[in-house]
């Protein structure tokens, strides 16, 4: 693939559980090096969209291309790091150091019956460094704050050196005063290491000055563009996305199968 190739291309994507449509006619392109935030209220289909991108749900209609490859043929999952919403619900009494947890991110890459080599240890240290937890390397993970734990899981995803990092509601366990520095750390990863970031969140206020692109999702994709344009959106545009009027909208825009 070449450098201008988008990392994710989603075309005409629709998805339903039972009878309820969750996503309709989604069109989304994520260029390489972007820092995209997908925002939307609870139940807006954000998690479903992530699951489809990660191949955890089967496509019903439309197409997804990852790194230029159709998702059905895509094999190189090592290129994609994922930090799930559940990551911080781990057993906080688990006796493992930050270093050990981060090194577990290499398990699949190294392969069974093989051991960590010097090069792997360098990668682990680099990943811990890049989330700013160097001095906590040998602490037990349970002794860290919620925000620091979230950084550990990001480091675990980074250690296998993915080109794309997907984060599902990463600030859920982070205290309000640390959210800002958390996003700064993500912006730093995006700029300095060139990692494309896809972030799903419902807090729209804090992110807009850190991310490069914003996508507003509520079954339909209402806005997808540069974050500067997003800031100029009218308040009532936002209430459309978050408000109840949206249901009326969805009937008018109902799509038949093609």
């Amino acid at each position: 693939m070449n450098a201008t190739q988008p990392i994710i291309e989603i075309d005409d994507l629709s998805f339903h559980y039972e009878k309820e449509n969750v996503l309709e006619n989604i069109q989304l392109t994520i260029p390489m090096g972007a820092f995209l935030a997908v925002v939307g209220p609870n139940g807006s289909g954000k998690s479903t969209l992530l699951k489809l991108i990660l191949g955890l749900l089967k496509l019903q209609r439309g197409s997804i291309r990852l790194f230029g490859e159709d998702i059905h043929r895509f094999k190189d999952w090592q290129q994609i790091g994922f930090v799930s919403q559940k990551a911080n619900s781990f057993n906080s009494g688990f006796p493992a150091t930050v270093y050990e947890v981060v090194s577990s991110g290499l398990t699949k890459k190294i392969g069974m019956f093989k051991f960590l080599r010097a090069e792997d240890h360098r990668k682990i240290k680099a990943a811990i460094d890049s989330v700013g937890l160097n001095e906590y390397r040998n602490r037990n993970i349970g002794q860290l704050s919620g925000g620091q734990q979230q950084r550990v899981f990001i480091a675990r995803a980074l250690v296998s050196e993915p080109k794309l990092l997907i984060l599902d509601e990463p600030t859920v366990g982070v205290d309000a005063q640390n959210v800002q520095s958390f996003y700064e750390m993500l912006a730093h990863l995006n700029k300095e290491r060139g990692i494309t970031l896809l972030l799903v969140t419902h807090d729209i206020g804090t992110i807009s000055d850190k991310v490069s692109h914003v996508a507003c999702l509520n079954k339909f994709l209402h806005f997808h563009g540069k974050s500067e344009e997003f800031e100029q959106l009218q308040i009532n545009d936002m209430s459309q996305i978050y408000g109840h009027d949206v249901h009326l909208l969805s009937h008018e825009h109902h799509h038949e199968g093609v």
Partner: protein, 286 residues
């Protein structure tokens, strides 16, 4: 006692066996405890009892298998029991701990029936329940040696996978680790180690050798490897100390070993209280 060890083969057997299980029981125990499966050891030890009772019954009533070591039948039952637990855990997805009492009571029930069918056994059974120094044969020692070689090699080779599976099963699955196969190997190892440890500490106390040293270790250890190191250290100390004391004071070795492990646990809890001024959440989460 050192002199006695050179003199009597049964003492050599007991001590060597003790030293081996002092390593492998806490080693596996670390993975059992952090995965919150502590009670599996109890369930499987009771199934092992059923196997032992079955073997003794066949020997007494039907004179078949009279040359067969009851340990083998115990192991066969234990492994079968572990497979049932796995099956039940998938049947009751939302009540996974339910598998443990089902298998535990099944094991005791079966054992009780076998014992009554045999009109009771001689003192043999007491040795199986609470451990016995004199009961360990050379054949037992070799069997246990073989099992521990298998367990240690498997843990070294699969350490990365076992760690990830213990810490974050979801992530292990998502990243394409062969979670089912690894777990299968793990549960077979647990079943084998329980049967192996039973000779020394006895069926009723086997699980304590897998959990107490670990419980003490996670109070003070930093990281997973250190947890393993302290668990094995405490396990070994308990077994060797327990065997020595029980030999001199003529006590049941199983009980003595477990009580030493309890003392170590209490000391580590006390130490942690004294040494730490900062709030630490390092115990098993409630």
């Amino acid at each position: 006692m050192i002199k006695d060890i050179f003199q009597f083969e049964f003492l050599q057997n007991a001590f060597l066996t003790g030293m081996i299980i002092g390593v492998i029981a806490p080693l596996l125990g670390v993975f059992i405890v952090v995965r919150r499966l502590s009670l599996i050891a109890d369930a499987l030890s009771h199934v092992t009892l059923a196997g032992i009772a079955a073997s003794l019954l066949l020997e007494k009533k039907f004179l078949v298998m009279s040359g067969l070591n009851p340990l083998y039948m115990g192991m066969a039952f234990s492994v079968t029991g572990s497979l049932f637990i796995e099956k039940l855990r998938t049947v009751y997805k939302h009540y996974q701990e339910l598998a443990i009492p089902i298998i535990l009571s099944g094991g005791i029930g079966l054992g009780a029936i076998f014992i009554s069918l045999a009109d009771g056994f001689n003192t043999d059974l007491f040795g199986y329940l609470f451990g016995s120094v004199s009961a360990v044969s050379r054949a037992d020692l070799y069997t246990i040696l073989f099992i521990s070689a298998f367990v240690i090699i498997a843990i070294i080779l699969l350490y990365k996978e076992l760690f990830l599976l213990s810490f974050d099963e979801e992530h292990a699955k998502a990243s394409g680790i062969a979670v089912k196969s690894i777990h299968f190997i793990f549960i077979i190892m647990v079943a084998l180690v329980i049967a192996a440890s039973m000779r020394i500490v006895g069926i009723l106390l086997v699980s304590s050798l897998m959990t107490l040293p670990v419980a003490a270790s996670i109070r003070i250890a930093k990281g997973f490897k250190e947890t393993i190191f302290y668990s094995v250290l405490f396990g070994e100390t308990s077994v060797l100390g327990g065997l020595l004391i029980s030999y001199y004071l003529d006590l049941a070795p199983g009980g003595t070993i477990v009580m030493i492990a309890v003392v170590i646990l209490v000391v580590t809890i006390g130490l942690k209280k004294i040494s730490s001024s900062r709030p630490v959440n390092n115990g098993v989460k409630s």
